[in-house]
Symmetry: C2
Subunit: 321 residues, 2 copies
């Protein structure tokens, strides 16, 4: 039975996130027994930009030893799947490619699920395009050029008779207004759909530095074309449905979503009906978490880093003795 998880009303009483190491022994045990599966973000939980977060691998290993399954769900598809595999291997995290979720893959799964036929106009990286090509989809992109400042040259570069039936947008280092205008024009066709991969309004780029993310650009086209934005990155509704289906989730409450971003990770988890845990090892500090007023984005639990799970499991073991 399909449940519209987005019809779940936000709780009206304010939640107070609990630090997993400040729980009583009984509550720690109860918490650990309350979930079977983990979906975890990568950036901010496993590493930040290029630095490994100490004990992340050990934390996941300890949870696996305690019988928990985990998979990674990231919005960051700029790295290729093999680069991810390599990095996970280096730090000693077991990597199951089949269960690794990122926008390019989710988009392909979505296109397959609707039996999509037709040409795609894509604004994304080469890695993203490779995923589409690998799945047998045909696409066009660009133009990637500087044009003359005349309406006639503009017309030459935005109008096209190509039978585009899907516009797809993800991180694109060279996206231009020409591309967005072209996308808007393709979307005039009633059957042309609009898909967003990475769904960040702002992307954390360096310490304290955010840059404008794909979701901001996609919003322009969604508004101008009045098309529904099918969103296959966190916190997208369509990704939530895909995850629940692909991982055969029966009881959403027995899933724990772990991440470092209030909207993308915690908001996504809450709206999926999962339990949520904010890791303070990435883009959000304690102050910011406590200042959050949107109940959807307030986590059930928080921890300093994955290493806290090692402590929690030790505490429980000690208590058993």
């Amino acid at each position: 039975m399909a449940v519209d998880i987005y019809s779940i009303k936000a709780e009206t009483t304010q939640k107070t996130p609990k630090h997993i190491l400040k729980l009583s022994v009984n509550d720690k045990r109860e918490f650990l027994n309350s979930f079977d599966r983990i979906f975890s973000d990568v950036d901010g939980v496993v590493w930040t930009v290029n630095e490994y977060i100490p004990q992340a691998a050990e934390g996941f290993k300890a949870l696996a030893d305690a019988g928990k399954k985990y998979s990674f769900v990231t919005n960051n598809g700029v790295r290729s799947e093999s680069e991810y595999a390599q990095r996970f291997k280096e730090i000693g995290i077991e990597f199951n490619a089949n269960e690794f979720v990122y926008p390019a893959k989710s988009v392909v799964q979505y296109l397959n699920s609707i039996n999509f036929k037709g040409l795609i106009y894509v604004m994304a990286t080469d890695n993203f395009k490779k995923s589409l090509r690998g799945a047998g989809y045909e696409y066009i992109f660009g133009p990637l050029k500087i044009i003359k400042e005349t309406y006639s040259d503009l017309a030459n570069h935005i109008f096209s008779n190509e039978p585009v039936r899907a516009v797809i947008l993800d991180v694109d280092f060279n996206m231009s207004s020409l591309n967005l205008i072209r996308a808007h024009l393709f979307l005039r066709h009633p059957d042309c759909i609009l898909i967003l991969g990475a769904s960040d309004k702002l992307l954390p780029f360096a310490k304290g530095v955010d840059i404008i993310g794909p979701s901001s650009f996609a919003k322009i086209i969604a508004e101008s074309s009045k098309k529904r934005l099918i969103t296959l990155g966190k916190p997208g509704k369509d990704l939530a449905e895909l995850l629940v289906k692909n991982f055969c989730i029966k009881d959403r409450k027995r899933v724990l979503m772990i991440g470092d971003m209030l909207e993308q990770d915690i908001g996504f988890g809450t709206q999926c009906g999962f339990q949520t845990l904010l890791m303070l090892s990435g883009g959000c500090n304690l102050e910011k978490m406590l200042a959050e007023t949107n109940t959807v984005n307030i986590p059930d639990y928080y921890a300093d880093s994955m290493g806290d799970f090692i402590e929690l499991l030790k505490d429980l073991k000690k208590a058993e003795v």
Copy 2:
């Protein structure tokens, strides 16, 4: 005394626009006597894309003969002022460069009015940049190039130590996400202001074809930077204030705003406290006008084209005999 025209509440009773030729003779006389000055849009009133709208020049001449002053206020600064002068001359409309209002000029006037000192980051056409240079302002722009798909190359092209204190955005044929991301980063400086010239969400490009306009792009940066968007094109509040000051408007009700766009022209006029007249010779037809529900965008009057003013003046002359 400064009046906050934006505090004027929208009327709650629905207005019904009146066709100027369907008024009684008395109402025609009253209407004509109710304004001394006209601000008129150009595209859609004088010409559409490249076609002259018949009798536009004669319409303005008839109004001038009846003692009305008129000036043109356009969002379209892609043409240079001298090109405008040439086109107006060709069709026989008297052109007073001092009273011709377009975004690049309004932006310069605004910068002068706040005694702006500092470097500008600009996303606009060469014509626009020429206006800034002519007024003695220094600016940087770009990059205008295709970059490698790596975070390090992205970093090389978005970070800058230039002391930018204003980001200015207008129509820019080659704007890229790199430019928008750079703008967002410059706006992190607390003193850096954000200015929009042409304020169209969508630009009418060809018959039945709109393209995404500068206002949509500016909105992304305003949201990401949380800066106020100083808007010097129609329907911008800052342009309204500049017009009222520069043209020494004492009684706003004795100004008639003429234009072909519901939001940009009529909405702008209403919010300025002017009377408004929609010309059906451009981007809006009768059906669309009647379907408009936002009172601010419903005109007081409408007409098929400027030629209707010739008829109206004839009718009044006939009635005097």
